[in-house]
């Protein structure tokens, strides 16, 4: 019992002090050191280009056996199809038989039959082609021949339409296009309307017309029966209308005429250079190439109206000079294909390649321009070729593609990329108060034939300098280039850089709003000023291995 009494008294006294949590200090003090891997990767030139533009590798990097990085910029200077050059419009041909024709035919004979004919009736056949054209034949691909016949007579009969110069070769014989309409009036009127679509393959001979005119000849033969009771009265007539609609040709032969046109202005965009703020790059042996594909059987003259290089950074335009096919100076003439009627015309391909050494292109590319601007001119049936018999099919096409191949082979000094990024560690930057020190280790194996010089400048919203990431603003972190022998990288160069960021540095960053990243490259520099800088080659597999680790010391001394 005494023991229990003591417990009853002592217990409240003993626990009292230790459980007065309102007296509990909320101070927390912790120090810990953390290390963790941040990132790693192996980036080749190809990877880096993909990062800039995911379509660039497939569209702009030229595959080749040596795996050299060759940038191919391409543009279609000219593209023209036959359908866009020559068209057949809809056209109508009207004819009438009346009392005068009846009388000329001698009226109904003893059998009560009269036959009226109109042969070789000529109609102009319009072809929307070029100035001075004179076609000699065309083959129909498709057309709709609508035949409408209207009569106000009670007489039965038949109308035969023959196109004497519209023929088709079939089974070894040549057939003329002809159609017959049976006239069966209802009372005193007859109306007929039908569309024929069977003209595919028929060839229209246009040589029978008068010189300088494309004509269609039609023979009309109308036979009527009086039925013993129906005379041909003066008011009686038969109207015939033929409409050629939705006409498409498959082949054209003859002189299509003279045609002159300009294309452009066009542009080859060198967008990659936009991020470059300074520096130059001398390119060894850039190549300009024109690939001409032609399936028109027509003499064609072509050439540049102008070619110039625009540099946005320097604010200027420079013309391309040298052995370039300018229209007015040294135009090109396309090779014509072979007439392969009735089979598809095999296009002829002509390639004109101009080495950079034949022009001032290397000098123009040296300053890393923004674009190449140009315009092109062509002439069909130019005066130099005289008047020739042309041929073309509905599938004929002409196209001229220009290519600029820029091999990554050259040298550069102080080419500098710059970009401004938003930088905001947030309005509540109290988290950084807990970082006593952060150490970032960059382990870089550089396999490029150029060094990499980095700096990051932090500025506030008024563009005042706040801090620089690597040392002072004028300093840089330098990662030496790979070992280069005869312009090729033989081994990678390792550089381990440790960057230390302290709490004082974080305090400077709190007000920063932007981060200016500057990256500068130099290909291998000569050992002395008197020696020229060596040109280096960039292969697609060249790359850089990066490993980033970090260590952070955290120090918390807070009252919660």
């Amino acid at each position: 019992m005494p023991v229990l009494m003591v417990m009853l008294i002592a217990f409240p006294a003993c626990i009292d002090d230790n459980f007065e949590l309102d007296k509990l200090s909320k101070k927390v003090q912790l120090q810990s050191s953390w290390a963790f891997p941040v990132a790693y990767g192996s980036l080749t030139i190809e990877n880096m280009i993909e990062l800039a533009d995911t379509n660039f590798v497939g569209n702009y990097l030229l595959p080749n056996d040596s795996n050299l990085v060759i940038l191919r910029l391409q543009d279609t200077m000219l593209s023209q199809t036959a359908q866009g050059l020559i068209t057949l419009s809809n056209q109508s041909f009207l004819m009438q038989f009346n009392k005068a024709d009846y009388d000329s035919a001698g009226g109904f004979n003893i059998q009560g039959i009269v036959t009226m004919t109109k042969e070789e009736t000529e109609f102009p056949f319009v072809v929307d082609t070029l100035l001075g054209q004179l076609l000699d034949s065309m083959a129909f691909h498709s057309t709709k021949l609508r035949v409408r016949v209207n009569s106000n007579m009670p007489n039965k009969g038949q109308l035969i339409l023959t196109f004497p110069h519209l023929k088709i070769k079939k089974d070894g014989s040549e057939n003329t296009y002809s159609r017959m309409v049976y006239i069966k009036p209802q009372g005193n009127s007859f109306s007929y309307d039908y569309t024929y679509t069977d003209l595919e393959g028929y060839v229209l001979d246009l040589t029978q017309a008068y010189a300088g005119v494309n004509s269609l000849f039609i023979d009309y033969t109308l036979k009527l029966d009086d039925g013993n009771i129906h005379p041909f009265n003066p008011e009686h007539k038969i109207d015939i209308q033929l409409d050629f609609e939705d006409n498409e040709y498959s082949w054209l032969f003859g002189y299509v005429g003279f045609f002159e046109s300009g294309f452009g202005p066009s542009m080859i965009d060198l967008g990659l250079t936009e991020m470059i703020t300074m520096g130059t790059f001398y390119v060894e042996d850039p190549v300009i190439r024109f690939i001409v594909s032609n399936s028109f059987g027509i003499p064609i003259k072509y050439g540049f109206d102008y070619v110039s290089v625009y540099n946005k950074r320097l604010g200027g335009t420079e013309p391309l000079t040298g052995n370039v096919p300018f229209f007015d100076l040294n135009p090109g003439f396309l090779v014509q294909p072979t007439n392969s009627y009735p089979y598809t015309i095999e296009q002829s391909i002509d390639t004109l390649q101009i080495s950079g050494s034949e022009t001032n292109l290397p000098q123009l590319l040296y300053d890393l321009p923004s674009s190449i601007d140009f315009a092109v001119k062509i002439n069909l049936n130019p005066p130099e070729s005289g008047t020739q018999r042309n041929f073309m099919s509905k599938d004929s096409k002409i196209s001229v593609i220009s290519q600029l191949d820029v091999p990554f082979w050259g040298h550069t000094e102080k080419i500098c990329f710059s970009d401004t990024l938003n930088f905001n560690i947030g309005s509540d930057s109290s988290m950084f108060d807990y970082f006593k020190k952060v150490q970032l280790t960059l382990d870089v194996d550089n396999g490029f034939p150029h060094d990499i010089r980095l700096q990051g400048i932090l500025i506030d919203e008024d563009f005042n300098h706040k801090d620089s990431i690597f040392g002072t603003p004028k300093e840089q972190i330098i990662i030496e280039s790979g070992v280069v022998t005869n312009g090729k990288v033989t081994s990678k160069t390792k550089k381990i850089t440790v960057l230390e960021f302290t709490k004082e540095k974080f305090n400077k960053w709190k007000d920063a709003k932007y981060l200016i990243i500057r990256v500068q490259y130099n290909t291998t520099l000569p050992s002395s000023d008197t020696q020229p800088q060596e040109s280096v080659l960039y292969y697609r597999h060249y790359g850089v291995d990066v490993k980033i680790t970090t260590k952070a010391e955290i120090e918390i001394d807070e009252h919660l």
Partner: protein, 484 residues
């Protein structure tokens, strides 16, 4: 005399309620071993002889079972106490309290002082019904007990990681093994005998049928984290083996959906049927208690017993989860940024999932129940007074906890008093007290193995308390009087 007893009761009861009110920590009541006036002591040694003809008690006994329900409660923390975390630094702090994290050195010392795996365990045993009776030299015992064991564990290195970081870590690697939880709920129905073969030897055996209600256990919980000092790369090794039997939710599938970029866990929420839960007979098991008492010379007795040697096989609502693998983390791969279609977060979750390859199954499994071993000796100084020494070992999930107890025991006609001192690893202040009072046939008892913990709870780590009520029937002549 009766006035004296009433006074005792008047003083004891408030203390009892006080103990109830501040129930916090407990362990098995080892002091009960030599408190032979209480029939519950047979639970610790089936060979214990009782000097009455019969007894009964339990939660279902009207009135007495509810006024003072027969409970055994215990909570233990194996490596720290309140005062290890909150204390009075003094000095500049004056009379204020501070946490151990107010100072770098203190927090590191605290973290270093923890055990590799720190556990907070809880158990409660509820006597639903028990009774016994004597026939000649054999005492028959029956009991039905509801047992719940539970605990959570966490590794020391989790806290050491916080106070050191992985770069300055004092060991070659961070050992995060030991995360886990365990829970075991089962019903035990036992029938046993104590046979007084002679005046110097008695033995006892009890066979028990076990019925599992719910279980959760982490058979394996291994997680090691290594940091390469040069490259800073992380290497994680994990090996987990988790089994559960529970009626709340059924996990039917677990996989990573690469197309949907998501971790998919398919579950069926079950309608918990409380009646069905407590009457579940599908998870069966058996256990046995064995004990022997031998008196080589007069007044000296040697005791040995093993209790709860058994297992339960879990067949109903079973879920198994196994995962094993090694993950090397070397940072974010910059090349993955080239593919805009990649979701970086899900990419790494996918890698994590494939590396550790978690496998879900629903196979039955077996668990052992906590095994207890007792070996001791007692010296009978007088008819009602004895002194005892006892070794106690508790084995569960491959972990053995041992203790040694010295006690002074007083047993007289249903009245009992025991004062004990228990020595455990890293715990030396365990003074226990047990008291049994009998009024006519009604007996009540209360005991704890650490009376100081309620007085100084700030230093408490392991406390258990047991109390209850029995009805004692008849009185047998004592063997010592026969010998005399």
């Amino acid at each position: 005399m009766s006035k004296y007893k009433i006074k005792i009761l008047r003083n004891v009861l408030p203390l009892f309620f006080f103990f109830v009110a501040i129930q916090v920590e407990a362990q098995e009541n080892i002091g009960m071993y030599y408190l032979h006036s209480v029939p519950n002591s047979v639970r610790l040694n089936p060979s214990t002889t009782l000097d009455y003809k019969g007894y009964f008690g339990g939660l279902i006994i009207p009135v007495s079972g509810q006024i003072l329900p027969p409970l055994n409660l215990g909570i233990s923390v194996n490596s720290f106490c309140y005062s290890d975390i909150v204390y009075k630094p003094g000095g500049a702090f004056g009379d204020s309290l501070a946490t151990v994290f107010h100072d770098v050195g203190k927090s590191r010392a605290f973290a270093d002082g923890l055990k590799p795996v720190n556990r907070i365990d809880f158990h409660t045993y509820i006597d639903l019904l028990h009774f016994g009776f004597r026939t000649k030299n054999v005492f028959w015992h029956f009991s039905m007990v509801e047992k719940v064991e539970a605990g959570v564990s966490f590794p020391r290195d989790l806290l050491r990681l916080l106070v050191y970081g992985n770069d300055d870590f004092p060991d070659p690697y961070v050992d995060l093994s030991g995360f886990g939880a365990k829970a075991l709920h089962y019903r035990e129905i036992g029938l046993g005998i104590t046979h007084e073969q002679s005046t110097v030897f008695s033995y006892g055996v009890k066979a028990k049928a076990l019925f599992g209600m719910g279980n959760l256990q982490f058979d394996k919980s291994t997680l090691e984290w290594r940091t390469d000092p040069v490259t800073g790369n992380f290497i994680f090794n994990a090996d987990f083996d988790i089994n559960a039997s529970q009626p709340i939710v059924e996990v039917t599938d677990l996989y990573y959906d690469s197309e949907g970029d998501s971790l998919v866990i398919k579950t069926n929420q079950k309608d918990l049927d409380p009646i069905g839960y407590v009457t579940n007979m599908k998870n069966g098991g058996i256990a046995i208690d064995l004990g022997a008492t031998y008196s080589p010379v007069s007044n000296l007795k040697l005791h040995a017993s093993v209790t709860d040697l058994g297992f339960i096989r879990w067949n109903d609502n079973v879920t198994n989860l196994r995962a094993k693998g090694e993950l090397n983390f070397t940072g974010i791969c910059l090349n993955d940024f080239l593919d805009d279609s990649l979701d970086m977060g899900n990419l790494y979750i996918d890698s994590l999932f494939k590396t550790f390859d978690p496998k879900l199954s629903h196979d039955s499994y077996k668990t052992t129940i906590p095994l207890k071993m007792f070996v001791g000796a007692s010296y009978q100084l007088a008819d009602i007074l004895s002194f005892g020494a006892l070794y106690h070992g508790r084995l569960w999930n491959n972990e053995l906890n041992s203790s040694v107890t010295l006690s002074a025991n007083l047993n007289n006609r249903g009245f009992g008093l025991v004062v004990s001192y228990t020595l455990m690893k890293d715990s030396y202040k365990n003074i226990g007290v047990g008291l049994a009072l009998k009024l006519g046939g009604w007996q009540t008892f209360l005991m704890t193995d650490n009376i100081l913990d309620p007085i100084f709870p700030q230093n408490a780590q392991k406390v258990s308390i047991r109390f209850g009520t029995n009805w004692i029937l008849g009185r047998e002549k004592k063997h010592t009087s026969l010998i005399n």
